[in-house]
Amino acid sequence: MNPINQRRWQQFQANRRGWWSLWLFMALFIASLGAELLANDRPILVSYQGAWYSPVFTDYSESTFGGDLDIAADFRDPYLVDLIREAGGWMLWPPIRYHYQTINYDLPTPAPSAPTTDNWLGTDDQGRDVAARLIYGFRISVLFGLALTILSSIIGVMAGAVQGFFGGLTDLLFQRFIEIWNGLPVLYLLIILASVVEPTFAWLLGLMLLFSWTALVGVVRAEFLRARNFDYVRAARALGVGELTIMVRHVLPNAMVATLTFMPFILTSSITTLTSLDFLGFGLPVGSPSLGELLAQGKNNLQAPWLGITAFVVLGVMLSLLIFVGEAARDAFDPRKGGMR
């Protein structure tokens, strides 16, 4: 690492709250990336007649384990469990023995049922394990948020840079267009568009990208307009450095602080928008694990508070962590912070 980035890294670490938030968030995120190993209705590893099987990664037929029929193996079926045990085999299960789609038919009370040692956070109104759905829902929310943030930042920074750099008529027309575009009622449009197409992850990402890229244009444009007349930009020009290099090297970093300041907010708002669409029922396809859908269930089943409370706590913790990380990142990129004298 060169000295600048070392200093930035130190600056980031100096913000203890953001530093710990990053660790916590990364731990949660990486854990949720391996959701299949944490919550699944298939064992991670099966030993059967001296051979090894990994049902998490491969589909096996019931006949593989001595069953009669050539159907997909259901490892939760007592029949199959017995078959494997009688053959002297064993199964290594994930800590949560439910996939997000798995329906637990063996409930003590009608669904939604309260937390038990089996279903740690209870089940939802279709008898699916809440803990399993949370892990998958967290992953999909964060991945969606990150993808949307990165894409809209790239588009936003480029659009802002073009406006600030060229100025004049380009700037004028572009600004008016963005004003009109921002005037559109985004949520209604998303709902209408989501009812026209079959919403999938990619479709939703594309639709939201249509409206979220404008968030950064203003600040980036302003930074470019301001910075192109800086003395050190003039000095670089006098040194004979090319225009594009100047923009990327001297002007863009000025805009990056503003961008990075906005990014956590874009990320949280992306996650919030996805959650609210899911909550309203216009989001991800039916059956997808989603925090918004869990919130909606909590609203519909006030007698089952574990639904609403769980969704609220997870959303609250996730969004707070992201904001703290964003604050620390902003400090890290601020050349005026720390290192004085």
Binding site: Y232, A236, A238, G240, V241, R336
Partner: protein, 529 residues
């Protein structure tokens, strides 16, 4: 014997627990002028601000000391008592007339405000008094100026309005914090004359804060020299100036840029020649942005510089000297002939021009703005090298950076630090190093010393002179500071409103100015010597 008007005893100021000012004591009698002198950061402004308790408390604190105004303690006084004193008994003028007036209020409102608060005047009475004050501070046509906003006034007029505000309630004490630093020399002189005239007429005490010894010598009765938060010496003005005791005072008095340039060899080749250079900015009006006229920032300037020679360009702000520098660098469009080494710079295409840029370099006025804060010193200097000498290896780059830093008098081991870790003078050296490393033939110096303290200024002048003789550099030295121009230039161009009013050898020009404007400029700049 009666008590003095203002008595500051053993004043101490801390910022965030760090000792900034220690043991400052001085007194001030009615009708007397005391000057607080020192370089930036010496604590003179904060000492003055603490008299009115205007520091950012509780970041700032006073661990010790007392400030007595007419026998009443101001330090730690209750807010209502302070308000009764501020603007009524003690008036204050700030350095920057641009920012010390509220841009959204008219002149009438700004001056009238203090009258309404302290005197309880009604609107017509306040208006009459405001007119009287504007006349007092010498604003022409005060009636129509009442409705002007600050941006419609010139720098000098704004400072006059500031003075009118400070004087509105006929204070017993006027604190003037660098009242003329931001102004042109001829305006400076007018403001100073106004201040001393008003002081005599109204019999106020004046606490003048300045780094400019010339102004101090002319204005003050007594002087207190501050250095690193302490008063190192104080006494009658003549005593201090004629027989300074403290080494710092002696250093300060000797800090004036001195010396003259050696003449240039007759056979020195001409480096830059400009013929009839014009920079006009169109004025556009109306919906269709029709061009209705031009602001002639630079209008028909001829100049030529030889190797090893310094051409000084002097003039007040707005005279077009900086624009001329940018035009010569081809950083803005211009018309007319600009020949560098015989090639017409204006005819070059972009790529060729970029390759030639190494030959002409520039050093800007503000060393805080001219270095990218995100670049380490080594990166700042390497940037141009990488463009013009792409074949250099990293080690060779580093060698060149270290040698150029040594040449401008900086420690080469500091090259991985960032600009904000350096002082203003050091940053200006870095900016010079950035230009020098490309081995230019011509260096355009755009007010390179005006943001610096006097003692640092003369160090930079010495450095520039040494570099010039070693490298046979041609300088285009843009400045409003005639003392420095005299120390550094061979020939001088005097600019006014985009035109050259006079040009000639530096000695001739200073001793026998022909043009009326030059004469005024020199009189204003050197009046205190």
């Amino acid at each position: 014997m009666t008590a003095p008007l203002l008595e500051v005893t053993d004043l101490a100021i801390d910022f965030n627990g760090q000792a900034t000012v220690r043991g400052v004591s001085f007194t001030l009698d009615r009708g007397e002028t005391l000057a607080l002198v020192g370089e930036s950061g010496s604590g003179k402004s904060v000492s003055a601000l603490s008299i009115l308790q205007l520091l950012p408390y509780p970041t700032a604190s006073h661990p010790a000391g007392s400030i007595r105004f007419e026998g009443r303690e101001l330090l730690g006084a209750a807010e209502p008592d302070l308000i009764a004193v501020r603007g009524d008994r003690i008036g204050m003028i700030f350095q920057e007339p641009m920012t010390s007036l509220n841009p959204l209020h008219t002149v009438e409102k700004q001056i009238g405000e203090t009258l309404l608060i302290h005197r309880g005047m009604d609107a017509p009475a306040a208006r009459a008094r405001t007119l009287e004050l504007l006349e007092l501070v010498g604003i022409a046509d005060p009636e129509s100026r009442l409705r002007s906003y600050p941006h419609q006034l010139s720098g000098g007029q704004r400072q006059r309005v500031m003075i009118a505000m400070a004087l509105a309630n006929e204070p017993d004490l006027l604190i003037a914090d660098e009242p003329t630093t931001a102004l042109d020399v001829t305006i400076q002189q007018q403001i100073l004359e106004l201040l001393s005239d008003l002081q005599q007429r109204l019999g106020m005490a004046l606490l003048l804060i300045s780094h400019d010894l010339g102004i101090v010598r002319r204005m003050a009765d007594r002087v207190a020299v501050m250095h690193r938060g302490q008063i190192v010496e104080q006494g009658q003005i003549d005593a201090i100036f004629d027989t300074p005791q403290h080494p710092y005072t002696i250093e300060l008095l000797n800090a004036e840029p001195s010396g003259r340039q050696e003449p240039v060899a007759d056979d020195a080749p001409e480096v830059l020649a400009g013929n009839d250079i014009r920079v006009w900015f169109p004025i556009q009006r109306g919906l269709l942005r029709r061009t209705v006229g031009h602001v002639k920032a630079v209008d028909g300037v001829d100049l030529h510089v030889r190797a090893g020679e310094t051409l000084g360009i002097v003039g007040e702000s707005g005279s077009g000297k900086t624009t001329l520098g940018l035009a010569l660098l081809r950083l803005i469009d211009s018309r007319g002939d600009i020949r560098f080494d015989g090639t017409d710079l204006r005819a070059l295409d972009k790529a060729t021009l970029r390759a030639r840029r190494a030959d002409i370099q520039i050093v800007f006025q503000d060393p805080f703005a001219s270095l990218d804060p995100r670049f380490s010193i080594s990166q700042v200097i390497a940037e141009g090298l990488r463009v013009h000498f792409p074949k250099l290896t990293e080690t060779q780059l580093d060698d060149r950076i270290r040698s150029v830093l040594g040449e401008v008098g900086l420690d080469a081991d500091t090259r991985h630090r960032y600009p904000h870790e350096f002082s203003g003078g050091q940053r200006q050296r870095i900016a010079i190093a950035r230009a020098l490393v490309l081995e230019p033939r011509l260096l355009i110096l755009d007010e390179p010393t005006s943001a610096l303290d006097r003692s640092v200024q003369s160090q930079i002048v010495d450095l520039l002179r040494a570099l010039q003789s070693r490298r046979r550099l041609a300088y285009l030295f843009i400045s409003h500071d005639l003392k420095i121009v005299r120390a550094l230039a061979h020939r001088v161009i005097v600019m006014k409103d985009g035109h050259v009013v006079e040009t000639g050898d530096v000695e001739n020009l200073f001793t026998q100015p022909r043009h009326d404007y030059t004469r005024r400029l020199i009189a204003a700049a050197l009046f205190n010597h």
